[in-house]
């Protein structure tokens, strides 16, 4: 049995408290008046030089869901536009300041949402990985089942938090939740049968309910199998896992449309669900590997050997490449076809998010590729830890890149709101996961494959 060490508990609680303070102060500071924003903008304009003070340009860049209409309009009356730009400068100034005011305010919600989603996604990825191991009747992994079960304990609270933030933030994150916006937007009106609040909530509850049910029932059978005489619990767990995977394939994809893609309600990508799936899968596997290394360093999990670590590192390596494959497939098709309503997604990211957008490819692809390519390095714990931390940061930035451009435009930064939110949910994640780890023996000794798993060697 694992006992939750006090040092770790205190560390997690400190994270939660500091994170909560940071988030709260972020929200309080974000209540700015229009006049404050104008002062900020004037200061920025004096720093950045005259070309940056062009308000019209900023509006077009800043708000991705307006880009299509704006650019179309701009194309129609480009001559007129140039003439009237000076005349309407005063009007634009006000409009722009108000727009920036919204973005500054949105940033608090978005930062909170990104971090909440990131930790929920880790848990969901581990749940899928766990179900795959069960359904495939994998012989190598049963010794790490209890670690996976502990991580998935966070899924229910984590997913409810994500849903809660989504509803609480409402139009701050999801413009389609604002009736005022929908009234003037034909594209969103056409999607209203899917993108409306009641149906959004029902769907979310179906997703969360299904995942949590599988998590609950598979855990129940896994515990029952420890003391069972025969393999009937294992067989039931196997059947539920196979069924869950079918449910998961559909719901994880729909969840990514609902919870992420709909922040840009005009834009869509058909492989978005797979892309988010790759992200959650690799983050989940990475967290399993990091937790195993941590627990082994504390003298637990003596039955986990370096071949298990090697296999997890292989998955980290392989799924990182899979993520890149999907990232690039999505990017290249849209870049190549260059259709205005699609390509605006990447235009905003490359113009305003150059560093996180391309930095994420280095962190999620180039770095793990080079570090984890050598077979021997995959069994050296500190190498895996190093690669794992970079992968996790990279996938946080991945989520960041999905949410931020639609909500805060070019007003992004990784500052107190973002870091505090990560601390808040990271601390909560640690508390719940390590609490769940104390609830059952660390070895699923009744699993019919446990003996094989203990003797697993490469």
């Amino acid at each position: 049995m694992y006992t939750f060490s006090n040092r770790l508990k205190v560390f997690a609680i400190v994270l939660v408290v500091l994170g909560a303070i940071g988030v709260a102060s972020g929200f309080m500071n974000s209540h700015k008046s229009l006049e404050d924003v104008k002062v900020i903008l004037a200061e920025e304009a004096s720093h950045h030089g005259p070309e940056h003070a062009d308000a019209t340009h900023e509006v077009v860049k800043g708000d991705s869901h307006e880009v299509t209409e704006d650019s179309l309009k701009a194309a129609e009356d480009s001559h007129e536009h140039a003439d009237s730009a000076n005349a309407s400068a005063d009007h634009n100034d006000d409009e722009h300041a108000e727009h920036v005011l919204h973005q500054i305010h949105n940033r608090q919600y978005a930062a909170l949402y990104v971090a909440a989603f990131f930790f929920m996604m880790i848990s969901l990825g581990v749940l899928a990985f766990y179900a795959v191991q069960y359904a495939a009747q994998a012989g190598w992994s049963p010794v790490i089942f209890r670690v996976m079960e502990a991580i998935t304990y966070y899924l229910l609270p984590g997913a409810l938090i994500v849903l809660g933030i989504a509803l609480w933030a409402g139009p701050h994150l999801f413009v389609w939740m604002d009736p005022e916006v929908v009234a003037h937007d034909e594209l969103i009106q056409n999607k209203a049968s899917w993108l409306n609040k009641p149906w959004f909530i029902i769907r979310a509850l179906i997703f969360i309910g299904g995942w949590s049910f599988y998590r609950w029932i598979s855990r129940k059978y896994s515990i029952a199998q420890d003391t069972a005489e025969d393999n009937s619990n294992f067989k039931k767990g196997f059947r539920w896992s196979a069924g869950f995977l079918v449910f998961y394939i559909y719901t994880s994809s729909m969840m990514s449309w609902d919870w992420i893609m709909s922040v840009d309600p005009h834009w869509f990508s058909t492989l978005f669900g797979w892309y988010v799936f790759a992200s959650m899968f690799v983050s989940g596997i990475t967290v399993i590997a990091l937790m195993i290394i941590y627990l082994k360093s504390r003298g637990y999990l003596e039955f986990v050997n370096d071949s298990h670590l090697h296999d997890l590192a292989k998955f980290m390596f392989g799924i990182s490449i899979f993520w890149t494959y999907l990232w690039f497939s999505q990017f290249m098709l849209i870049w190549y076809s260059n259709i205005p309503e699609e390509v605006t997604y990447f235009v905003t990211r490359i113009e305003d998010y150059k560093l996180p957008f391309f930095g994420m490819v280095v962190m999620n692809f180039v770095f793990p590729l080079l570090i984890l390519m050598n077979s021997d390095y995959k069994r050296i714990p500190w190498f895996v830890v190093m690669a794992g931390i970079v992968i996790l940061c990279g996938h946080y930035i991945d989520v960041f890149n999905m949410i931020m451009p639609a909500t805060v435009g070019d007003r992004w930064s990784i500052g107190i709101p973002e870091i505090s939110s990560v601390m808040l949910f990271g601390g909560l994640f640690l508390l719940l996961v390590f609490y769940a780890l104390t609830k059952a023996p660390l070895l699923a000794k009744g699993n019919p494959f446990t003996k094989e798993s203990e003797q697993f060697h490469y």
Binding site: F328, F331, M332, W335, Y336, S337, N338, M373, S375, H457
Partner: protein, 176 residues
């Protein structure tokens, strides 16, 4: 120096073979070669063979493939015959680069895979129409053969190998 006489011990199970190899190594006998019908996991480690370097060659071949793809696409699509494809009449390599990534990927894999196989054949001294070195055709079916050099100790070696689970032991004179 290769011994003129070898003992060939036949086994019918890979697990028995593995434990026999470990015992033979523990007794400090030199294993000349082992012939198996399928790759036996961990056999190379048990025999004490030097780790394979084929992975390193594979990486280098992959790099060659990547470079070939980069230069080839530059020559074909930018220098030699630039074309306007999908409204991208750009004469810059970087601005067209994403379209070349699939080709870079494919040629990396192509070079790594093919050259690695060819390297493996060359390194194992295998080429078309070469006479098989396999001493016993049963090793292509269901038997495992271990070849051990004899240095005037055939009697005790035979007895020892019998104990390790060999089903058949032959003394072969390799002197020409």
């Amino acid at each position: 120096m290769e011994p003129s006489k070898v003992i060939q011990a036949m086994y019918t199970d890979d697990d028995v073979l593995m434990s026999a190899v470990k015992k033979v190594k523990a007794e400090k006998h030199h294993i000349e070669e082992i012939y198996t019908p399928f790759p036996v996991h961990g056999l190379d480690k048990a025999m004490g063979l030097a780790p394979t370097r084929i992975a390193i060659t594979s990486f280098m071949y992959g790099c060659v493939g990547l470079i070939v793809a980069i230069l080839m696409m530059k020559f074909i699509m930018i220098d030699d015959w630039p074309q306007d494809i999908g409204g991208k009449p750009s004469f810059s390599y970087m601005e067209n680069m994403p379209a070349f990534v699939p080709i870079m990927f494919e040629l990396t894999v192509f070079f790594a895979a093919h050259l690695m196989v060819i390297t493996f054949y060359l390194r194992s001294k295998m080429w078309p129409f070469k006479k098989a070195e396999n001493p016993d055709p049963r090793t292509t079916d269901d038997h495992f053969l271990m070849e051990i050099g004899v240095h005037g100790n055939e009697k005790e070696l035979t007895r020892f190998l019998k104990e390790t689970g060999a089903v058949e032991i032959n003394l072969i004179d390799k002197a020409h």
